[in-house]
Symmetry: C2
Subunit: 410 residues, 2 copies
């Protein structure tokens, strides 16, 4: 594993158990040696699920399969394999994914159509599927009360430098429910309707339509607001399972309990998404880009992504150079409505330019001190005086990114 990101949390978080969930980490050594690389989750009867997948037009075989599982709406398990994404592998790749679903189903008397499959890693190589099948036990007797979250979060990593998890418990109508989730991702990260891979579990009781509505909305505010390198994965998958073993029955996001649950979910997913940025390939700095004053939230997000994806903005921050002109360039190329004569650019809370020119008496030393830190905040008001706003999280572009991606096949 690579050197741990300087932006990593100090330690793996305390993750609360989710009743109705059984997690098993296994070692197939399909590609990676000496570490777990397979994760199986079994869910108790009555579980509902929601799913969002990559919008890529060259999706992997596991995504193609899991879309069918999602459509049947009877899922009770998932399996994740790390090291090989099984993408652009033709009919053989699809057969391999189905073999994995079938073998996983057998572990607990399920049907293959009840098993989501995800794979992550290199694109365009056939899986050594026998290694994965051989790593499975004859059967799993699920322990639905305790989970080893560190083992689970570690088993799904590829170029990541730390395991990512988040957990929260809240009260709904006087009863405690828990949401716990894991994710992975480091490069090829500009999720489009989902993230690299993220799996979230709750013991709350939520109808599947409501669950899907909440997942869509929360993905849009979390994973769809991050970018490492503007490259959208072929394997992005975000699954949300609700085992229904705790709390009141929730049938809509518009109820009090539904709203409380959604708020907790969005917060947890934002934490997971930000952990992906903290592990961005080669990242040395965590960058928050806020855009306001735009014609719509969507327009603001396009401008914020244009800034967050600009190699020149990202390298300037890597070099601790307060080269704000590159931010103006990135706003200009985004193709969205702005009022250049009222454009305001701030870094670290210091207004640098306002009304299409630098402000009088701008003191670069304050901004310089800010960008020498680990956390860099860029705020742009595009001057239209409207309410459209968005926040996007990204990281800087460093020699580390080149090293990771030019020197190894990942």
């Amino acid at each position: 594993m690579l050197k741990i990101s300087p932006l990593a949390p100090e330690s793996f978080p305390e993750v609360k158990p989710v009743s109705g969930l059984s997690l098993t980490a296994l070692r197939s050594e399909e590609r990676y040696k000496g570490r777990n690389d397979v994760l199986i989750a079994l869910l108790s009867e009555g579980t509902t699920s929601a799913a969002v997948f990559t919008q890529s037009l060259t999706p992997g075989a596991p995504v193609i399969w899991s879309r069918k599982v999602h459509a049947q709406n009877i899922a009770r398990a998932m399996i994740v394999t790390a090291g090989n994404a099984n993408v652009c592998t033709g009919k053989q790749g699809q057969a391999n994914t189905q073999a994995i679903a079938k073998a996983t189903a057998k572990l607990n008397q399920l049907k293959p159509e009840q098993v989501f499959v995800s794979s992550t890693g290199v694109i365009g190589e056939q899986l050594d599927v026998e290694r994965i099948l051989d790593s499975l036990p004859a059967q799993i007797s699920p322990d639905y009360e305790q989970q080893d979250w560190l083992a689970a979060a570690s088993a799904i990593l590829t170029t990541d430098t730390f395991a990512k998890a988040s957990s929260v418990s809240i009260e709904l109508s006087g009863e405690t429910i828990t949401i716990s989730g894991i994710s992975k991702g480091s490069g090829m990260v500009e999720p489009n309707m989902a993230t690299m891979l993220s799996y979230i579990f709750t013991d709350a009781s939520i109808e599947s339509d409501a669950l899907q509505t909440m997942l869509n909305k929360a993905v849009d505010k979390s994973f769809n607001c991050i970018t490492v390198d503007s490259d959208t994965s072929t394997s992005d998958t975000c699954l949300l399972f609700a085992t229904g073993r705790a709390g009141p029955a929730i049938s809509t996001i518009d109820s009090i309990d539904g709203g409380l649950f959604y708020t907790a979910l969005e917060k947890l997913m934002t934490d997971l998404a930000q952990q992906v940025i903290r592990d961005g390939e080669g990242a040395q700095k965590f960058i928050t880009v806020k855009v306001s004053g735009a014609s719509s939230d969507q327009s603001a997000k396009i401008i914020a992504k244009s800034i967050a994806n600009s190699p020149l903005v990202k390298t300037a921050i890597a070099g601790e150079d307060a080269n704000w002109g590159r931010i103006v360039m990135a706003v200009g190329k985004a193709g969205q409505a702005i009022n250049f004569e009222a454009l305001r650019v701030s870094i670290g809370g210091v207004v640098i330019a306002e009304g299409d020119g630098p402000v009088a008496g701008y003191d670069e030393s304050l901004v310089q001190a800010h960008i020498e830190g680990r956390y860099v905040n860029i705020d742009v008001d595009v001057g239209l005086g409207e309410n459209g706003h968005a926040t996007v999280w990204t990281c800087d572009l460093t020699h580390g990114y080149i090293e990771i991606n030019a020197d190894y096949r990942s």
Copy 2:
């Protein structure tokens, strides 16, 4: 100046003189010391001109001024200053550009509205305009028959590592006409309707409407087909002057002479555009991306740009890793219509994947040998069986790019 790009031409080309053009290179030391940084071109009476500018919504003061000059259609001069782009500099920046136009006009009894102005370099700082004005002589007595092209091409450079020029003479109705041009550009290069900076001169006689039609078309096939880093400049400008001193009168691209002229122009502009890629910041490899089988030429260009702008594709080539799965990823994220089941990916003429999977017996060693060279060819047929096609030129993404952009303010 940085180390000369390994992709640079062996020497500065022979550039034929253009009758009716006077070029003067000067040293203002506004930002760069010990080199020329101002270029003035004077054109003889009767010259027609055409222009294309950046589509950025945060254009520089010189672009705002030059659009007005272009609209008046009586241009007889241009001045280019290097080191400071005069962008996002407010009313003071616009006043500075006008002062430069006014002073340049005085050199040869012109009106300010006859003077195009370009500036290139850092964004967001006020020009030290006095230095530029002080560098101008009292007047210029134009020599309309000879030009020092190396001095001219050198005076407009910023992070470029070599001077860029191209020249051609052709026969039109038995008379010889000449087209000669220069350009600059190295980073912040994904031109949108124009390039960084390019100036082309011909002694042919072409009506201004026809000249503009030809320039628009040729820009679309040349400068709009290159990308270094996906960042679109605020200063992109491409000017084309025709002094009318040689050859037959041309009033349309649809005549025989008009067609011959256009073909030569497109070829020359493609050469200049490719020289910008040869000088891409940190470039070690020249990459040609061809996409075919798409629903339209525009769709093919979007897919080709998605490949050419992918940091993961560019770093894989930098690392000489035949990681073709990343090409599939970039096709998938482009959002354009494809037939995944008939997708064909080739590198160096070797078909690697066809019909959404690797071809039987694919021998990576052939592709490996190809990508270890300086020139890498990527061909993708998106499998729709339609005629849409496009070619885009780019370079790899190396440690050199990070060094140039993280370590210096440019």
